[in-house]
Symmetry: C2
Subunit: 289 residues, 2 copies
C-alpha cells in the first residue's frame, strides 16, 4: 500500500508542477526547471498529502502544498550539485542540471524553483483561507532560509572549510537544519491546512527526519552508486563526520530503527488511519536509494 501511495503522491505533485509550468516561456531555464523536478521519490510531497489525508483535507490544497515542497527541495538539490558546492555530476541517475546545461542556467533554475514554491503556496487553490496560505509561506520560509536549510548548508561548509570534524550534537543540529526542517514542514503541513494542532505530526517528523539522515549516511557507505542514483562514499572519502563514522554502522542502524519506532509512536492517537505514514517511516530506513 505504501509504495502505491508514494507513487500516487509523486504523480499528483508532478502533475501540479507540470500544469503550473505549462505556460512558461520556451527557454533553457524553464526546461531545466521541469527536468529538476522529475524523477525524485517525492517523499516530502507525500508527507504533505498524507498528513492532510489524516485530517480529511479535501480539494487541490494538499497537492499544491506538496508540489511547493518538491519545488523547494529540487531547488536545493540543483544548487547543492553546483561545482562550487558539492560538485556532483549525477542526481537521480541522470546528469545534474549544470552538467546538462551550464552553471548559469543551474543557478537560475534553482532560483526560480524556490520562487515557484512560494507562488504555489500563495495560490488561492492551496487553501481558501488566506491565513492558512500565509502560515504555510511563513513556516516554509523559516524552514528553508538562513534559520533552516541554508543554515544547515552553511554549517556543513563552515566545518569543511575549517577542517573540523563535528561531534554528534553538532552533526545532529546541522542535519536537523539541512534536511530535518523541510521534512518537519512537510509532515506538519496537513495539520496547518486542516487548522489543527500540528504537535503529533511534529514529533513524528522530528524522529523521521533524523532517521532519514542516519539512513542516508548508511547508504553512503553501503549503497552502490547505480542504485542510489548518485555518487556514494563521498563523505568517507572526504573524512567528514557522519552518523556512521561517529556511531559505527551497527549502532547507527539500531539508532535509526529506534527513531522509526518513536515516529510511529507519535502517530498512535490517529490509529490505523496513520498506517501509511508509519510505513513511510519504515521505508525511510530500508530504502536502497
Amino acid at each position: 500500500m505504501f509504495a502505491a501511495r508514494l507513487t500516487a503522491a509523486a504523480h499528483a505533485t508532478q502533475s501540479v508542477l507540470a500544469h503550473r509550468m505549462a505556460g512558461y516561456a520556451d527557454v533553457p531555464v524553464v526546461h531545466g526547471m521541469r527536468y529538476a523536478v522529475e524523477g525524485g521519490k517525492g517523499l516530502r510531497g507525500f508527507l504533505v498529502m498524507e498528513s492532510a489525508a489524516l485530517y480529511g483535507v479535501a480539494g487541490p490544497g494538499p497537492s499544491l502544498a506538496g508540489a511547493a515542497i518538491e519545488a523547494l527541495h529540487a531547488y536545493s538539490l540543483v544548487h547543492d550539485d553546483l561545482p562550487c558546492m558539492d560538485d556532483d555530476d549525477v542526481r537521480r541517475g541522470q546528469p545534474t542540471v549544470h552538467k546538462k546545461w551550464d552553471d548559469a542556467t543551474a543557478v537560475l533554475v534553482g532560483d526560480a524553483l524556490q520562487t515557484l514554491a512560494f507562488d504555489l503556496l500563495a495560490d488561492a487553490d492551496c487553501a481558501s483561507d488566506p491565513a492558512v496560505r500565509v502560515a504555510l509561506v511563513a513556516s516554509l520560509a523559516r524552514a528553508s532560509g538562513a534559520q533552516g536549510m541554508v543554515l544547515g548548508q552553511a554549517q556543513d561548509i563552515a566545518a569543511e572549510t575549517a577542517g573540523r570534524v563535528l561531534d554528534l550534537d553538532e552533526i545532529s543540529e546541522l542535519q536537523r537544519n539541512k534536511t530535518g526542517a523541510l521534512i518537519e514542514w512537510s509532515a506538519q503541513a496537513g495539520a496547518v491546512l486542516a487548522k489543527e494542532d500540528p504537535t503529533p505530526l511534529r514529533h513524528y517528523a522530528q524522529a523521521l527526519g533524523l532517521a532519514f539522515q542516519i539512513a542516508d549516511d548508511i547508504l553512503d557507505v553501503e549503497g552502490d552508486a547505480a542504485t542510489v542514483g548518485k555518487a556514494t562514499g563521498k563523505d568517507a572519502d572526504a573524512g567528514k563526520a557522519t552518523f556512521v563514522s561517529l556511531l559505527g554502522l551497527d549502532v547507527a542502524k539500531a539508532r535509526a530503527q529506534d527513531l522509526v519506532d518513536q515516529a510511529c509512536d507519535a502517530l498512535a492517537p490517529f490509529g490505523a488511519k496513520a498506517d501509511v505514514l508509519k510505513a513511510a517511516a519504515d521505508f525511510v530506513v530500508t530504502r536502497k536509494k
Copy 2:
C-alpha cells in the same frame, strides 16, 4: 526633499533587515547577507514606502514590504555577479559577495535573501489582513520568478549564447521582465497594502521601469566606474544590444525623458501628494550611479 525621503526609506528598510537578521547564526552566509543588503540606493524599498504613504498606510507594513523587495533585489545582484553569470568583482563600490567570500557562500547568500523576502511579506507585522500579505507574496513570486525577473535573465543569457543582437521590441520585453517587474511590484505595493486599485501606480511604474533601464544603458556608456560603483562599458564591449546602441544616445535620452513625463502624468490624480514619486522619476534619469 526627494533625496531626504530616499535616504529615510533606505534607513527604514535597512533597519528592518538588520533587526530581522540580528538573531541569525554567526556564520559567513549570514555575514554575507548583511553585507549584500548594505549600500544600495534603496529605490525599490522607497517606491513601496512612498506608494503606501500616498494612501496613508500606517504602521510597520510599508517598511517590511520595502525591506522584502530590497532583500529580493539584493539576492538577484549577488547571483548576477557570480563568475558563471556576469562575473563582476565590484558592486556599490565594494567587492562583490563571491569576491569577499567565495562562490558557494554567494549562492547561499542569494538563496537565503530570496527566502527572507517572502518571510518578511508573510510576517503579521506586514499587514494585519492575511489576504493582503498573501497577495504581496503571490505578486512578488510572479514578478521575480520564471515569468518575471528570472525570465528576463534567461532571455538575456539566451541572446548572448546565441550571439544574437536583440531588436528594440525584444530588449524592451527583456528589460520589462529583468528590471521592470520588480519596480512595478514596488510601486503597486502601497496600493495593495491600502487595498486600493493599483492601476495608476502600475502605469507610473511601467514608464518608470523602462526609463530606469534606458538610463542604466546611458550610464554604462557615459558614467565612470568610480562614480557608478561598478564596471561600465561592459555591454558595448560585449557587443550587446542596448537602448543606446539601438536608438543612439540622443534619442535614448529623449525617450527616457518622455517616459519620465508619462510616469508623472499617471500620478496626476494624486495631486501634490505624489510630488516625491514624481521627483523619483526625475532622479531615475538624472542619477550618476
